[in-house]
Symmetry: D5
Subunit: 92 residues, 10 copies
C-alpha cells in the first residue's frame, strides 16, 4: 500500500552544528536501510527547500506511523501524509 | 529531470456526461502513450479525491509545459508543479 | 485499518430538488449498507454545516477509494482523508 | 453530547527530555482515567504527526473545556474543537 | 449552553429578487420566534458584509444543529460554529 | 457602539509561572472593572483554547483601542476586532 | 471616526454589459455625493485589480454599515472593514 | 520603475471557443506592442498553469494600472502586483 | 505616487523594555520628520493591534523601499505594500 | 532553462550583528559571481520586505538546487521556486 509523504525539516537554530550533523547521519542510515527493504522506494529533494517528497510502501497505517515516528529528524520536521490508490490510467 | 505534479479535476457540472466521458477517454490514451514513452513514469490516485499525483521525466520546463498543456482535461484542472532533484540519501 | 474522513456537500443550486433528493436517498442506502458491513462504523453530522465526519474501517487505500468514489454524492462533495493509527494511550 | 477534537502537540525544544517525559506520563494517566469514565471514548494517532483525533462524550461545553484545560500537555498544544450531532443516516 | 455562530449569506445571483425576498422574510420570522423563545438571544450585523454574528442558547449540539439547519437561508449560507464556556473573569 | 473581539493568548514559555500569574491577576481586575462600567458587557471562553470572545460597548474606535491596548496581557495576545451594527431582525 | 475599507468587485459575467454599466454609473454618483459630504474622504484604485481602498469618516458602526450596504455594487463586492484610531506618532 | 506581475487566466467555461480565441488574439497583439515599446520587457509562462509572470517597466502606478486594465483578458484574470526596487547585490 | 502600507510590529520578547523604547522613540522622530516632508501624509493605528496603516507619497519604488528599510523598527515588522492609482470616481 | 525564485530572509534575532553581516557579505559575493556567470541574470528587491525575486538560468533541477542550497543565507530563508517556460506571446 503506497503513501506520498512530504517532509519539511526545520533545524533548531540554537543546536550546535556537530550535534545536528550526527542526527542527520543516523537519519541517512535509517532511510537507506528502509530503502533497501523496499519500504521507502522513492525519495526526492524539493528544489530550493530543506524538504523531500517520498513514496512509502507499507503494510498499513500503523506500520507507516511507526516508520515515520522512528525518523531521527522526526522532532524537527513537519510531515504531510497522502494515501495513494491505483489510478485507472496506470499501465503498470 | 523529474517533476512531481498534482492534478485536481473539476468536471464542469453543466456538461453532458457523455461529452465529458469522451474527453476522459482521450485523456487516458494521451496519458498511457506518455507512460509508454517514459515521460510519465508514475501516476497515483489521491484517495477520496478526483485528483492524482504523477511523476514526469522531461527534457526541460518547456517540454513539461507542452505535455501538461496538451492534456485533454487541462481546462478542467488545477495543476501544481514541484521540481525535484536527487536526494543525498537516495541509494539509487 | 481506520481513516477519519470529512465530507462537505455542495448541492448544485441549479439541479431540481426532487432529482437531488433521489441522489441523497441512494446515498443513505449506500451508507447504511456499508455501516451494517462494518466498513463505515461511525458517521456524525458537523453542527451547522452540510458536512459529516466519518470513521472508515477498510482493508487498504484502494478499498477506501473504491468506497468513497462510489458515493452517489461524490461529484458534489469535497472529501478530506486522514489516515489513523493506534494511539499509545488508547486503553482499548 | 459528542465533540471531535484535534490536538497538535508542540514540545518545547528547550525543555529537558526527562521533564517533558514526566508531563507526557501524567497526560497518559489523565487520558486513560477519562477513557475509563467514558468521557474520552476514542483516541487515534494521526499518521506521521505528533497529533491525535479524539471523540469526547460530555455533559456540555463547560464540561469539555474543563477536561481539555486540565490536560497536562495543554500549554504545548493547538486544539481544534468540532461539535457533532446525530447524522440522519446513522443506523445506531 | 452557549454557542457563537457566524453566518455569511451568499444570495444565488440567478434567483429572481422576489423569490429570494420571500425566503428572507420567512428567515426573519423564524429568527424572531427563536429570539422570543430565548434560543437566539443575540444577533448582530457584521459591518460592511452580508453576515451576522449570533449567540445561541441551546440544550445540546443536536438542538443547535436542528435550529441552524431549519434556517430558510441555510442552503445559501456558510456557517461557522464556536462552542463557548463560562470565562473565569466573567462577573455575571 | 458594539464590537466583537477575539483574543488568543500566547503565554511566553520562558517566563516564570509566578510572574505570568501576576499579569493574569491584574488582567482579571482590569477586565472586571470594565465589566462593571458596562464597557465590557460579555466575555466567553472559547472551548478548548486559551482564547475568549468578548463584546465591547464603547464611544468610538479610539476608546476601544485605548481599552484593548491597556490590557496587561496585550503583549502576549493576538486580537481580532469586528465592528458590529444593529441587525434588521433583532427584536431588541 | 475613521475606517479603512477594501472593496473587491466581482462583476457577474452573465449580466449584459449595459445593465452593469448602469449600476456602475449610479455607484459613481452615490460615491461622489458621499465624498462631497465628507463621509468618503479618500478613494484609491488598487493597481492591477478591480478593487479600491477607501477611508470613511462616520458617526458610528451603524452609519458605516448603512453607507456600505447602500452601495449599488454591494451585491457584487467582497468588503473588508478595518477600524482605525489615532496613531501616537501622527503629527496632525 | 519595475513591477513583477502575476496573471492567472480563468476562461469563462460557458463562452464559445471562437469568441474567447478572438479576445486572446487581441491580447497577444496588445502585449507584443507593449513589449516592442519596452513597457513589457519580460513575459514567462508558469509551467503547468494558464498563468504568466511578467516584468513591467512603467513611469508610475497610474501608468501600470492603465496598461493592466487595458488588457483584453482583464475581466477573466486574477492579477497580483509586486513593486520591485534595485537589489544591493545587483551587478547591473 | 501613492502606496498603502500596513506594518505589523512584533516586539522581540527577550529584549529589555528600555532598549526597545529607545528604538520606538527614534522610530517616532523618523516618522514625524517624513510626515513634515510630505512623504508620509497619513498614519493610522489599527484598532486592537500593534499595527498601522499608512499612506506614502514617493518618487518611485526605490524611494519607498529606502524609506521603509530605514525604519528603526524595520527588523521587528512585517510590512505589506499596495501600490495605489487614481480612482475614476475620486472627485479630488 | 529559467526559474523564478522568491527568497524571504529571516535573520536570527539572537545572532550578533557582525556575525550575520559576515554571512551577508559572503552571500553578496556568491550571488555576484553567479550573476557574472549568467546563472543568476536578474535579482530585484521586493519593496518594503527583506525579500528578493530572482531569475535563474540553469541546466536542470539539480543544478538549481545545488546553487540555492549553496547560498550562505540558505538556513535563514524561505525559498519558493516557480519553473518558467517560453510564453507564446514573447517576442524575444
Amino acid at each position: 500500500m503506497k503513501f506520498l509523504v512530504r517532509m519539511d525539516v526545520h533545524p533548531p537554530l540554537d543546536m550546535p552544528a556537530e550535534e545536528f550533523d550526527k542526527i542527520k547521519a543516523t537519519e541517512k542510515e535509517y532511510s537507506q536501510q528502509l530503502q533497501r527493504e523496499g519500504v521507502w522506494p522513492e525519495i526526492w529533494r524539493v528544489v530550493g527547500e530543506y524538504s523531500n517528497y517520498s513514496i512509502f510502501e507499507v503494510r498499513d497505517n500503523d506500520h507507516l506511523h511507526e516508520v515515520l515516528q522512528g525518523l531521527p529528524l522526526f522532532p524537527y520536521m513537519d510531515i504531510e501524509v497522502t494515501p495513494l490508490a491505483k489510478h485507472p490510467s496506470d499501465i503498470k
